[in-house]
């Protein structure tokens, strides 16, 4: 049976059994944690933030169009950095290095929510299955005692 599909966006997919992204898939049952970060934004903060400050601080030496270009490029870089995120999935197979997927922040956030929902459902299913097996075991024990 194909599990329930929780998320699908191009090559990114989360089902009840797998997390798939481009060339790699990972079994949901092996997942330990999911981490959402904006690494590119911090890099952009270092590069593009300095660009903006540089344009303003050296305003006495730069032409107007140069200042405008620096500020615009810097702002565009920061905007881009904010909208690009990395989703790192840690499983028993990937270890501490994790498995990283980079995409738009919105897609990564949605994918993370989907993975969390899938994990919760899985845990609930397992709990239910566990209870059911306990009940059947108790029934068998009663039959034996009789």
């Amino acid at each position: 049976m194909i599990g329930k599909r929780y998320y699908k966006n191009g090559p990114l997919e989360v089902t009840g059994e797998f997390v798939k992204a481009r060339s790699r898939s990972i079994q949901l049952s092996t997942l330990e944690s999911v981490d959402f970060t904006r690494k590119l934004f911090f890099a952009a903060l270092g590069l593009c933030g300095c660009m903006i400050v540089f344009g303003l601080a050296f305003g006495d030496l730069l032409y107007g169009h140069e200042i405008a270009a620096l500020v615009a490029l810097g702002a565009a870089g920061l905007f881009l950095g904010w909208n690009v995120a990395t989703l790192t999935i840690y499983s028993k197979l990937t270890g501490q290095r994790g498995w990283s997927i980079t995409g738009t922040a919105r897609a990564m956030r949605d994918m993370r929510s989907a993975i969390e929902t899938a994990l919760e459902d899985r845990a609930r299913r397992q709990k239910r299955a566990g209870k059911a097996s306990m009940v059947s075991d108790e029934g068998e024990e009663t039959d034996d005692s009789e």
Partner: protein
């Protein structure tokens, strides 16, 4: 167990440091040597240096002019004193002749100028000779002073000297890149020296003569 990564978010800091390093690289390779360095020199340091050299020249010219004026004044005063001291001899001679009454007076009226010229001619000659000698000594001393100043100079014109001085102040590419990448927060010694109007040894003294 305490994980130091909980307190020091290296995951976020690593890209930040990466971005800052990239920014420094851009400054080191492009912005500092090709944009900010030449413009700082063009807008601030070279004009300030040229003005400083011009001020030095004006100050030296003023000092020389003042010394010349003082020397001339002293020379005139000395000449006057010598003339006053020795012009008495002609007066005494005239007085002696004048004692011979009307005839003596007539003689003085007729030949007084000649007598005065006989008395003052050699004196004036001696004074002007002395003055010429003193002037020659003074000029030689001035020339030695100028030669001494010129010996300490490496460049005879202000633009060449200022070009050398500004280049020397900005010779350290790493320092200049640190100055631009930290948006003037870090001021290296070379830049601070340029701002303070320091003259770098390798460029000699300012060409004020």
């Amino acid at each position: 167990m305490i994980d130091w990564r909980d307190f020091f978010p290296v995951d976020a800091l690593a890209p930040l440091i990466g971005g800052l390093l990239l920014w420094f690289g851009v400054n080191y390779l492009v912005l500092a040597p090709n944009v900010i360095g030449p413009r700082l020199a063009e807008k601030y340091y070279t004009p300030a240096c040229l003005a400083s050299v011009e001020a030095g020249r004006a100050e030296l010219a003023q000092r020389f002019a003042a010394a010349d004026a003082e020397w001339l004044e002293r020379a005139e005063k000395n000449s006057r004193e010598i003339r006053q001291k020795y012009s008495g001899s002609g007066g005494v001679f005239g007085g002696i002749i004048g004692m011979y009454g009307a005839e003596g007076q007539r003689f003085m009226q007729k030949h007084g100028n000649t007598l005065s010229q006989w008395g003052s001619g050699p004196l004036e000659q001696a004074i002007s000779q002395g003055l010429a000698e003193a002037r020659a000594q003074y000029d030689a001393k001035r020339k030695a002073e100028i030669d001494e100043l010129r010996r300490a100079q490496r460049y005879s014109d202000a633009p060449a000297f200022c070009g050398c001085n500004v280049a020397a102040g900005m010779s350290d590419k790493l320092d200049l890149a640190l100055f631009t990448s930290t948006v003037r927060l870090y001021k290296p010694a070379g830049i601070a020296d340029l701002e303070a109007g320091r003259v770098f040894d390798q460029c000699g003294t300012a060409p004020v003569v």
